[in-house]
């Protein structure tokens, strides 16, 4: 249980520095408006802000009142204009985080308050959620880039990487896959060159960096999660590293906000575990705890005094955490059996392995028929479509409402749904392309190519990379033998396998076919510096950058890989995601 790190595993760099930096900058900005001030915070920024500077720090810098804002530009203008009408003069500052875009000023100008406010940037782009997890808290990245083709956030990523390399030294080995990964990498390189000399001569602390686009592997993100942390995320939604446990978990009438990270000793031991082990572990733990409490009996006064002053507090704390996680487990089990979780998982595994397709299809159809949850149905359709390369001809229609017609079109555009017209084989697409070439409309050709690119070759990739482990007998989830354990031994996450393979080879060599099947021939890169300053310890530290989000299952899988190989992985993601978030990002919702 709770595999310890190998004794030779390298130490993680101290990322709390990032928090301090962000906090100092915020304080500096607050002090730009001396005296009492009110602070309006956009709803999405509340939780990250809370992780950086709590209310008492804000109060120290004379923040009088705090307001949560749901609708940003409209608010600032109505506020300013109301003051103008009332003849009140106040100073206003708009702080954009992580950066101000040209369009921001345009909006202010349109609202007629551009001259009344001063603007600033709070370059708060990296939030350390845990000792090994940095989040940019940009959930919008996924839709903006992968659906709308909006590249604005790529620069933000490049700047975040630049910040990391100034703080933690250069990265001697860089790998990446995906169009966005390549762009971000190149922009980052430009930044480094412009500020040449700053990182030069510094010893690298982190030996490798691996950038990966989310659309290289949609499949993994679409699967139901069965590792504890992932399951908690799927069930309760972890937001900015903390979760709201409702009354059904806390077994009281109150909800409780709980931070989930390595500091929670109980959680830290079960976060990466397959769910089937968790309950047993927790009850064992409870028994141990009871035994420790029981030692009180037969203590003399001195021993008792010692116990109360030294151990009791820790035990109580552990007790509290334990009962919370047991509550969470119970709640998860209740919910999951209700929805026939076993059946669902079975179907997903069948899809991943590519057998019993008809059965899976009818399961999904039933799912749609029962109208359990549109998001869930969409997810299964996408999974079917990608794994079967676009054969998701389930009857989709108006039954979900007209806005979902747009959702389908979004899913198709992003490559999550690859609906195939009958007979639309590769040659047919090619002839379509050749027709367009004579048309000379470059834009159209790229469209056609991108539709070609959206073909998923999951089955072939799965074979090449051996993603479905051969099972001899039962897969012992208590003693995992590979990363597949995060999906009950049925499937090794594609993203993690790619990372594993590249790190093993220290290049993409021999992976040409896989790269081709991933349609990433132009976007797989390696860059190594000859400098031999990197210590052997730093060479076992790997920063993995997920552009478009990563799941807790992937994090668990790589943590496992790290333990096996003596590496430590550090995760940088635009946001932590899961299947539901992916689907919601693609959904058109009536405003």
């Amino acid at each position: 249980m709770a595999f310890p790190h190998r004794p030779d595993a390298p130490e993680l760099p101290d990322f709390s520095m990032l928090k301090r930096l962000a906090r100092d900058q915020l304080i500096y900005l607050l002090e730009q408006l001396p005296g009492k001030k009110d602070l309006f915070i956009e709803a999405d920024l509340m939780s990250p802000l809370d992780r950086i500077a709590n209310v008492s720090i804000l109060k120290q810098h004379e923040v009088d009142k705090l307001y949560k804002v749901e609708n940003k530009p409209a608010l600032s203008s109505s506020l300013v204009n109301a003051d103008k009408l009332a003849g009140r003069t106040r100073k206003y500052k708009v702080i954009f985080s992580p950066q101000k875009f040209y369009a921001c000023e345009m909006v202010l100008e349109e609202e007629g308050i551009y001259g009344d406010v001063s603007c600033d940037e709070w370059a708060f782009s990296l939030l350390p959620l845990d000792v090994d997890l940095l989040s940019m808290e940009l959930p919008e990245f996924f839709r903006d880039y992968f659906l709308e083709g909006d590249q604005r956030w790529i620069n933000t990523v490049a700047q975040a990487l630049h910040l990391l390399s100034t703080l933690y030294g250069p990265f001697p080995n860089c790998y990446g896959i995906g169009r966005c990964a390549k762009m971000a990498y190149e922009l980052w390189r430009n930044l480094e060159e412009e500020e040449d000399g700053e990182t030069k001569g510094r010893r690298p602390e982190i030996g490798h960096i691996f950038l990966l686009d989310r659309d290289v592997d949609f499949v993994t993100a679409l699967c139901s999660q069965v590792v504890y942390e992932g399951l908690v995320d799927d069930t309760f939604r972890i937001k900015c590293g903390s979760v709201d446990f409702g009354p059904e978990v806390t077994s009281s009438d109150k909800s409780l906000k709980v931070l989930l990270n390595a500091e929670d000793k109980v959680f830290n031991e079960i976060r990466n575990e397959h769910f089937s082990n968790v309950f047993g572990f927790l009850s064992q733990k409870a028994r141990n705890l009871q035994a420790q409490y029981d030692r009180r009996r037969g203590m003399d006064i001195k021993q008792m005094k010692n116990f109360v002053s030294q151990e009791l507090k820790g035990l109580k704390q552990e007790h509290r955490l334990l009962s919370l996680h047991i509550g969470a487990c119970e709640s998860i089990m209740k919910k999951k059996t209700k929805q026939d979780f076993q059946e669902l998982i079975k179907t997903e595994h069948a899809l991943l392995e590519g057998f019993n397709i008809r059965e899976s299809t009818s399961y999904i159809e039933e799912h749609i028929d029962r109208q359990v949850s549109p998001i869930e149905s969409l997810r299964l359709m996408c999974l079917l479509s990608i794994t079967e390369n676009g054969d998701a001809r389930c009857s989709l229609d108006t039954h979900y409402g007209p806005e979902h017609l747009l959702t389908f079109s979004n899913l198709r555009r992003a490559g999550l749904l690859t609906e195939q017209a009958p007979g639309d084989t590769l040659t047919a697409v090619e002839s379509k392309v050749s027709k367009l070439v004579t048309d000379k409309a470059a834009g159209k050709i790229t469209d056609a190519f991108s539709s070609l690119a959206k073909r998923s070759n999951f089955r072939a990739i799965s074979k090449k990379l051996n993603l479905i482990p051969r099972v001899d007998g039962e897969y012992d989830l208590k003693v995992p033998r590979d990363m597949a354990y995060v999906f009950s031994g049925a499937y090794v996450p594609l993203s993690c396998r790619i990372i594993e393979q590249v790190l093993e080879r220290r290049s993409w060599q021999g992976l040409d076919e896989v790269v081709r099947l991933l349609n990433c021939s132009d976007f797989a890169f390696t860059d190594m510096t000859k400098e031999d300053k990197a210590s052997s310890e730093s060479l076992r530290l790997i920063l993995v950058v997920f552009l478009g989000g990563c799941t807790f299952s992937e994090i668990s899988a790589l943590r496992f890989l790290g333990r096996e190989k003596g590496y430590r992985f550090i995760f940088l993601t635009t946001a932590v995601t899961n299947s539901a978030r992916l689907m919601e990002a693609m959904s058109e919702v009536k405003a």
Partner: protein, 695 residues
């Protein structure tokens, strides 16, 4: 060598002065200095002379000459003055010569007599003419103060960022003040003026009378006033031959002196040596010079920094000397050599007799990729001199594509700017160029340009989605992107349109677009949505209640819940809801109503396409075991065990499982055996298992 203490004359009790020639002037003046307007720049800068000022007695046909000399009298430039009469000359802090004309126009010349620009001091000045003018220096730069013929003051505190301020009227001022000066205190420019025995301080808001502390009585007018270079000190010369010296804030007197000369002096200036504690005022008459001073505490700051010194050398085109100084002082490249080379390059591009190629090559050879050199700045200068082609050549040397963009835009090379912006990866830059292009090109060309730049196109689409929906439509139209057009109208059907007719019309347009896009699936779905909308409207009219905007499913469910079973079935038929789905729907709705009678009737209407297990499940969900049992018996053999377990009939489940000889089912039943009540059943299963193994 002179004896150090020779030639010193006492000044007051504790100070001494002496007079000797530092160097002789190289110039060869043909006119008397008194006939010229003279301006000497601070810090030993150049001297400008404008001969033949417009004197009434001179013929206007003779054009005056403007000469510029170095501080030692080396001629730097000489040009014929072709503009209007000049009232005053002065040098700005950047060593630009400001020539204030009578009509309020200010002409700006460089050190080498090159015309830079001109600006006007405003209409009021133009109408009333300039009576007198002063150039003064502030923290922000150099300012101009004007006294007009109407005895009003207008000033600008910084000619680099021209903001004209018309000062308030001085009450009772009928003629020109006897003397005045511009002052700069607390970052605000003021005018101090003397009218008869009174002194007034003018700021942009008010005119206030002021009195110097400790001023001797009997003064009936001030003849001359002088402020020190730093605006800390003020000296006043009165008609009684009395000199008052104090702080410019008029809060403190430093000293006073009575010289008994009542003639108005020609000039009075403050003078003091750097870092000296002694301050003195020099007063000049036609044939007399007097130094008045005291020796109290005072500090002079070293104002001329190395950077300024370098700037001055650059301005005099002494590039090699400047570079040598940088190298000698080991200044960082960015502050030193690079900056000087950049200045040199900016000068180089102005050499019109050299071809574009040669200039570009020469500059690149010398500059290479020296850090801190901005090729785009040099290119901007080239463009400023009208050498667009040279500017483009120079831009090619600029390694940061983003830096090239602003100039390319200025030079109207917007399409090139767009590609450079895209190359830079800076979306804001792309956006800026896009808005430029949008204004510059006609719509068709603009769209065509976008077509070839997918990255810019997506960015613009995003913009349109939020700001200009109609343009978005045009964009799709232009590209014949019927799929997106369809989506656009779908969105409009629920986001933009309120009336049902409008919504149906939008959907119709969408459907047409989908047909054109050969997306039959979407077209059909859209048409269904139109039918559904119309039908929902009818339902609302006929049945009341809320139907509009429900999905097809919810419409059917609502109908069932409202007891309109016939209508629900009709709707299902019309929209070809698959049988299975309809059964699920109806099952769920009836169970929610707890209409068990209707549910049973429904279950018997025909053979259930979804089997009977869902019936059992849903009854149990509503905690109705009695009803659930009814259906459990009808569940097919495959799911029988599951159904029996659901209704809690473990014993019968065991019998069925044993009958099926199905190991999985046996274990499932066994896992449901709890406590003593099911003990017998458990034994039975174990026996059956044992038997099965024997065989």
């Amino acid at each position: 060598m002179d004896c150090y203490t020779a030639n010193w004359n006492p000044l007051g009790d504790s100070a001494f002065y002496r007079k000797y020639e530092l160097y002789s002037m190289d110039w060869d003046l043909k006119e008397e200095l008194r006939d010229c307007l003279v301006a000497a720049a601070p810090y030993g800068g150049p001297i400008a002379l404008l001969r033949n000022p417009w004197r009434k007695e001179k013929a206007a046909s003779v054009r005056p000459v403007l000469d510029i000399y170095s501080a030692s009298g080396m001629p730097l430039a000489s040009l014929l003055w072709k503009s209007g009469p000049v009232v005053s000359l002065g040098w700005s802090a950047e060593e630009e010569l400001l020539c204030v004309q009578e009509d309020g126009a200010v002409l700006v010349y460089g050190l080498h007599g090159d015309f830079r620009r001109h600006f006007s001091m405003g209409n009021e000045v133009l109408q009333n003419r300039v009576l007198d003018a002063r150039i003064f220096h502030t923290e922000f730069g150099s300012g101009v103060a004007i006294l007009t013929g109407a005895h009003r003051f207008t000033l600008s505190a910084n000619v680099g960022d021209l903001k004209l301020r018309r000062m308030p009227e001085v009450p009772g001022l009928q003629s020109a003040p006897s003397c005045w000066t511009a002052l700069c205190q607390d970052r605000v420019a003021h005018v101090l003026l003397a009218v008869g025995p009174d002194l007034y301080l003018l700021d942009h808001a008010a005119c206030s009378a002021v009195t110097p502390p400790g001023l001797a009585p009997g003064v009936s007018s001030f003849l001359q006033m002088a402020v020190s270079f730093t605006y800390r000190h003020l000296a006043l010369f009165t008609d009684t031959g009395y000199i008052w010296m104090g702080t410019a804030s008029l809060k403190e007197k430093l000293c006073e002196f009575n010289c008994n000369i009542r003639a108005p002096p020609k000039q009075m200036v403050w003078c003091s040596r750097p870092r000296s504690k002694e301050r003195a005022v020099v007063v000049a008459w036609e044939r007399r010079l007097m130094v008045v001073g005291d020796a109290s505490e005072s500090i002079q700051y070293k104002q001329l920094t190395i950077q300024v010194l370098l700037d001055r050398l650059v301005l005099r085109r002494l590039y090699p000397l400047a570079i040598q100084i940088c190298e000698y002082l080991r200044l960082p490249e960015v502050q030193g050599v690079s900056r000087i080379l950049a200045h040199w390059a900016c000068y180089k591009v102005q050499q019109k007799d050299v071809s574009d190629e040669d200039v570009a090559r020469a500059i690149n050879q010398k500059l290479g990729d020296t850090p801190g050199v901005s090729y785009s700045d040099i290119a901007a200068r080239a463009y400023g001199c009208g050498r667009t082609e040279l500017a483009i050549k120079l831009l090619e040397y600029e390694p940061r594509s983003g830096e090239q963009v602003p100039l390319l835009l200025k030079m109207k090379r917007s399409k090139l700017a767009l590609s450079k912006a895209i190359e830079s990866g800076d979306t804001d830059l792309v956006f800026t160029v896009l808005l430029h292009l949008k204004n510059e090109l006609n719509r068709g060309d603009f769209f065509m340009t976008l077509r070839n730049q997918p990255m810019a196109l997506s960015l613009y689409r995003q913009f349109c989605k939020h700001q200009e929906l109609e343009t978005l439509k045009d964009l799709y139209n232009q590209d014949d992107n019927h799929q997106e057009l369809g989506s656009f109208h779908i969105r409009a059907s629920y986001a933009a349109e309120e009336r049902i007719e409008g919504r149906v019309a939008a959907l119709q347009t969408a459907a047409d677009a989908f047909y054109k896009a050969k997306n039959e699936f979407a077209a059909k779905a859209t048409e269904d949505q139109m039918r559904l909308l119309r039908l929902q409207r009818r339902l609302e009219d006929e049945l009341g209640g809320q139907f509009l905007d429900l999905s097809l499913h919810d419409t059917v469910t609502t109908l069932i819940l409202g007891g309109h079973n016939k209508r629900a079935e009709q709707l299902a038929r019309d929209f070809r809801i698959p049988d299975k789905r309809l059964w699920w729907l109806k099952l769920t709705a009836l169970a929610d109503l707890e209409d068990w009678e209707e549910l049973e009737k429904f279950s018997k209407s025909k053979k259930s396409p979804i089997g009977y297990l869902p019936f059992v499940e849903i009854c149990m969900k509503q905690h109705n075991k009695y009803e659930a049992k009814k259906y459990a018996s009808r569940v097919g053999p495959e799911q029988k065990v599951k159904a029996l377990l659901l209704v809690g009939d473990v014993a019968q489940a065991a019998d069925v499982a044993i009958e099926h000889r199905n190991e999985a089912e046996l274990s499932l039943v066994l896992s449901h055996c709890t406590g003593a009540t099911d003990g017998a059943t458990a034994d039975k299963i174990q026996r059956a298992r044992a038997q099965a193994q024997k065989k």
